[in-house]
Amino acid sequence: MSWLIKSSIGRKFVQSISGLFLILFLLFHMSMNLVLIFNYETYNFLANEILGANWWAIIGTGVIALGFVVHVIYAIILTLQNMKARGNDRYASSSKTKTTWSSKNMFVLGLFILLFLFLHLYQMWYQMQFKELFMIEGARHDGAQLVEEVFSQLWVVIIYVIAFIALWFHLTHGFWSALHSVGWNNTVWMKRLKVLGNIISTAISLGFIIVAIAIYLGYSNLLG
């Protein structure tokens, strides 16, 4: 299995699978967030009973964290190797080749997402699952209320929106690129996968953003 680190296509395979896994996680996370718009009680039930500090939720968190760590480590390896392969000599007549912006800035976009992730983990996960797990004072079980408090601050909402715009760019390239990397593509499917990628990235980013803005403006908990 050493080809997964030693060969270029092997490394891209790992990056692609970890990226697709993270997309699946985000789809789940986004769906759960949408519940906040309608009902706080249901959300708290989901957050505490279905997830919370149960063993399955802890294993789940571990697996997702592993996915992130693998994705980020490979991102660093790939990016460094590519800079080396490109060499230090730049073109004076700077490249005029038409390519998409996001495809050339995956690492910068990723870094931005990572920074946001630290803030996000501190504001949410640390206050709930982490504190409960390690018996730290002040663990929160009222997830919905915590989220509401966090999103009542304008600066959080702004950072949140920017982060998901960065994610949108990351995924409009990332989705089809990942399927290309695992070899699923040809002239016919390439166009379809690009369209599908745009739909999925928009759904994910919009889903997250809508909830944050709805809470900030007070349009959440419609049923409760």
Binding site: R11, Q81, N82, R86, S93, K96, V182, G183
Partner: protein
């Protein structure tokens, strides 16, 4: 109508692989727009020789777009601003009176500069030697149509076989990746029954050689496809990924 134009060419000069390079700008007068880009460089070199100076060194051979020898990064594009042609097929009517044309060598760690505009592309030969062929027993020639091949496959193989190994894909790539070239060379054989026999071994050893020579990881940015003079499609890269992963999972 083609006119005669006055231009300046700003070319990269570098004495040897280890020397420091620099740009030198030469004015050229009355260049016919009907002449080819390389003819323009020939005129420049003739002037330089007549003045007792050292001519600008650049690669070329067939001058009809089939050998893959010419290179040159012209005004921000490998093979110049036109699409789907090589530098030797580029004409001066693409340029206007008063233009300054910047001419650079391919720049990528896998293609070190030998002198001026010539780079060392033997890395591509090494990749081909690693598996870009079919093994055939000698004897009397086999009938070419003995094995029927579906038309679409034959067409796709032929499209991939159009690659002339010029290296523009590497030159255009922000990752110095050779995936478009390698994928074309793997595809042209993998699509045909004669090439299937050695398909797994070929994919593995050509990719291994490509990695060993220090070419980058493909991020599917697609600059290669845009600049390739033979319009090789990046769907070949997906096919290479598929061939390689299939081969590895079979192990």
């Amino acid at each position: 109508m083609d006119k005669d134009i006055n231009i300046k060419v700003k070319v990269w000069r570098q004495n040897g692989p280890k020397d420091k390079g620099y740009f030198e700008t030469f004015p050229l007068e009355n260049i016919s727009q009907g002449s080819s880009f390389l003819e323009m460089l020939d005129i420049l070199n003739e002037n330089l020789i007549n003045e007792g100076k050292e001519p600008v060194v650049f690669d070329h051979d067939c001058r009809e777009g089939i050998c893959g020898m010419c290179s040159l990064y012209i005004n921000g594009h490998p093979h110049g601003p036109d699409e789907g042609i090589t530098t030797c097929q580029l004409h001066m009517r693409r340029f206007n009176d008063g233009d300054t044309i910047t001419v650079e060598p391919w720049r990528s760690a896998g293609f070190p500069i030998i002198k001026d505009l010539i780079v060392d592309r033997t890395a591509f030969d090494k990749i081909i030697q690693a598996g870009g062929y079919v093994s055939v027993n000698t004897g009397s020639a086999v009938d070419a149509n003995a094995i029927p091949i579906p038309r679409d496959d034959a067409e796709m193989a032929m499209d991939a076989a159009a690659c002339i190994g010029c290296g523009a894909c590497v030159a255009a790539c922000k990752n110095g990746s050779a995936m478009l070239f390698v994928s074309a060379k793997v595809s042209q054989l993998a699509l045909l029954p004669q090439g299937r026999v050695e398909a797994t071994r070929r994919a593995k050893s050509m990719v291994a050689k490509m990695d060993e020579l220090g070419f980058g990881n493909c991020t599917n940015t697609g600059a290669c496809e845009v600049e390739c003079p033979k319009n090789i499609s990046i769907s070949n890269i997906a096919r290479l990924n598929r061939e390689f992963l299939k081969a590895k999972f079979q192990d």
